[in-house]
C-alpha cells in the first residue's frame, strides 16, 4: 500500500508545475516558429505586390520600404482583356456552381438519407465509388460530348455538371448531416400529410443551413481555384477565368513584369481569403466531420 502511494507521488512529482510551464512555453515557441515558416511565403508575396518594381527581387523582407499600387494598375490591364472580365467570368461560374451544387446535392442526399426506394443501397454504393474515381477516366468522352453539343468555349461544361450533382463529396457530406437530424420531425410532418418535397423544403433544408453553407463555401472556393476545367474548355480570352488569366500572364508578360503578376496573384486569392476570414470555423468543422467516419 505504502509502496503504491510512494510510486504515485514519484509519478506526479515528475511533472512539477514549473516543468509543465516550461513545456507549454516550448510548445508555443515551436508552434509560433512553424506558423511563421508557413506564412512567410504568403506575406512575402503580399509585400512584393506593393513594392516598387526595382525592389521586388532584392529584398527578402516582408515589409516594403515604400508602398506603391503601380503593380496592381499595370497587372489589371496587363493583358489584351483586362482582369475585370476574368473576375466577372470567375464569379459567374463559381456563383452558378454554388447554386447547382447545393440544390442537386441536397436533393440526392435527402433521397439517400431519408427516403426508401428500391435500389437505394446500390446507388449509394455507386455514389461512393465516384468519390474515388480519377476524373481522367471520364475526361475525354465528356470533352467529346460537350464539343458535339457546341458547349466548348462556353461556361456550360463547367457549370452544368454541378447541377447534376457530379461532385459526390458534397452528397456524402450532406447525407452525414441529414442522418443526424431527428427522424420524428419527418414522421410527424408525414402524418400531417406533408409530401416528401415539402418535408425537404420546409423541414430538412431550414435545419441544415450549417452543412449547406459549408458546401456552398467549399464549392465556391474549389470552383474559383479550378484550373484544369477552364484550361481545356475555355479558349477565347474573353471567357477566361482569373486562374487562366494568371497562367496567360506567366506565359506572355510574366517574365518581364513580376510586379503585375504578383499583384494579380494576390488579388486572385482575396475572395478565398475572405471566406477563410469569416467562415473558417465552418470550414474547419466541415473537414473534421467528414473526416470522422460515423
Amino acid at each position: 500500500m505504502s509502496d503504491a502511494s510512494a510510486r504515485l507521488t514519484v509519478v506526479t512529482g515528475a511533472v512539477s508545475p514549473t516543468r509543465k510551464r516550461i513545456t507549454t512555453i516550448l510548445v508555443h515557441v515551436a508552434l509560433l516558429a512553424a506558423s511563421i515558416c508557413m506564412l512567410y511565403p504568403l506575406l512575402w508575396l503580399l509585400a512584393a505586390s506593393f513594392r516598387p518594381e526595382n525592389e521586388i527581387f532584392t529584398s527578402a523582407s516582408i515589409i516594403p520600404s515604400s508602398w506603391s499600387l503601380d503593380s496592381y494598375i499595370r497587372g489589371w490591364n496587363g493583358l489584351r482583356t483586362g482582369f475585370g472580365t476574368f473576375y466577372l467570368n470567375s464569379f459567374i461560374i463559381s456563383g452558378l456552381s454554388v447554386i447547382g451544387n447545393v440544390m442537386a446535392c441536397s436533393m440526392a442526399a435527402y433521397a439517400f438519407a431519408r427516403l426508401e426506394f428500391r435500389g437505394k443501397n446500390f446507388w449509394f454504393a455507386m455514389m461512393l465509388m465516384t468519390l474515388m474515381l480519377p476524373y481522367q477516366v471520364t475526361l475525354i468522352p465528356q470533352y467529346v460530348l460537350f464539343r458535339q453539343l457546341g458547349w466548348v468555349n462556353t461556361f456550360l461544361p463547367l457549370v452544368v455538371p454541378k447541377f447534376l450533382a457530379a461532385d459526390g463529396f458534397f452528397i456524402f457530406l450532406m447525407v452525414q448531416f441529414f442522418r443526424g437530424l431527428p427522424k420524428e420531425l419527418d414522421e410527424a410532418a408525414q402524418m400531417d400529410g406533408c409530401s416528401p418535397w415539402r418535408i425537404y423544403w420546409k423541414i430538412i433544408l431550414p435545419l441544415s443551413t450549417p452543412v449547406l453553407a459549408t458546401a456552398a463555401i467549399f464549392t465556391f472556393i474549389w470552383t474559383w481555384d479550378d484550373f484544369f476545367g477552364p484550361l481545356i474548355y475555355l479558349s477565347e480570352m474573353k471567357s477566361y477565368t482569373v486562374m487562366l488569366g494568371l497562367r496567360t500572364f506567366t506565359d506572355s508578360t510574366g517574365e518581364s513584369d513580376f510586379g503585375g503578376l504578383f499583384a494579380m496573384s494576390v488579388l486572385s486569392l482575396v475572395p478565398i481569403f475572405l471566406f477563410f476570414l469569416f467562415f473558417q470555423r465552418m470550414l474547419i468543422e466541415g473537414i473534421a466531420t467528414t473526416g470522422m467516419k460515423r
Binding site: 512575402w44 436533393m107 446507388w123 455507386m126 475526361l139 475525354i140 503578376l261 486572385s268
Partner: protein
Amino acid sequence: MTARSLQSGAPAGERAATTPSLWARIWHNDAPGYLFLLPWLIGFLGLTIGPMITSFYLSFTDFDLLTSPDWVGANNYIRMFSNDPKFWASMRVTMFFVVFSVPLKLAFALAVAMLLNRGIRGLPLYRALFYLPSLLGASVAIAILWRQIFASDGLINKLLAMVGIMGPSWISNPKTSLWTLIILSIWQFGSPMIIFLAGLRQIPQDMYEAASLDGASKWRQFVKITLPLLTPVVFFNAIIQTIEAFKSFTPAFIISGGTGNPINSTLFYTLYLYQEAFGFFRMGYASALAWVLLALVSVFTAFSFLTSKYWVHYDE
C-alpha cells in the same frame, strides 16, 4: 402503419393501398426517391458511367477528335509498356511524388495536431493559421509564388545568400525540381491535421492517466495508445491524400510551364495525359493512360482496404 391508420381514421384507404396496381405501388413507394435522385442519376449515367464505357472503348482505338476512332486492339497498352520512355518517366515521377509527399505530409500533420492537442491556449488561432495554406494551396497563384521562391534568384536563395550559401536553381535542376513540388504538398498539411485533431479528441483522456500511473513513458503512450486508436483516421487520411497526390496537376503544370521539364523530372502522370490528349490530340492513347491510372488507384485502394484489418484498429 398502425399509428397512421389511427391518425387518419380511414381503414378504407389502408385497404385500398394493399391492392393497388403495380404502377401505383411503384409510384407511391419508389417515385419520390427517384425524383429526388434524378439530377444525380442523370449526371451519374451521362457524365460518369457513359463516359467510362466510351473511354474504355476509346482506349483500344486511335482517335484524333476529327475523324472517327480506328480500332487498334491493345496497341495503345502495348506501346505504353514496351515502347514509351515518357510513360515510364511520368510513372516514376508520380510514384516518387506519392511515396514521399504523402507520408511526410501526414507525419507533419500528426505532429502538429499532437502539439495542438495539449490543451494549449490559442488553439483556434494556430489551427486557422496552419489551415490557411491548405485552403489557398490549390491555386494557380500559389504555384506561381512557388516558382519564384525556388527560382535561381528567388526567395530561398536570397535567404541562403544571407548566410553565405550559393543556392542552386531549384526549379531548373532535375535533381531538385520534384522536391519543390513535394515541399509545396507538405506545406498544405492543414486539412489532414484538422482531421487528426478531431480524431485525437476522441481518445479518452483517462487512458493516458492510467498509463502514466503505470509509469509508461510519453513515447510508449504514443506507440501503445495514440497510434493504435488513431489508425482509422490515419487510414482515412492516407487514402484521401494518396488519391489526391495521384491526381495532382496544377502545380506541376504551372511550375514547368506545361512541359514537365527539366528532363521530364516534373512530368506528372496527369500532365503527360494532358499533353497526349490536348497537345497532340491522341485521344485513344490518352484514354488508355487514364485506364492505367484508374487501375493503379484501384489496386492501391483495394490493397489498403484488404490489409486494413491487420493494422486498422476499429473500436466496437
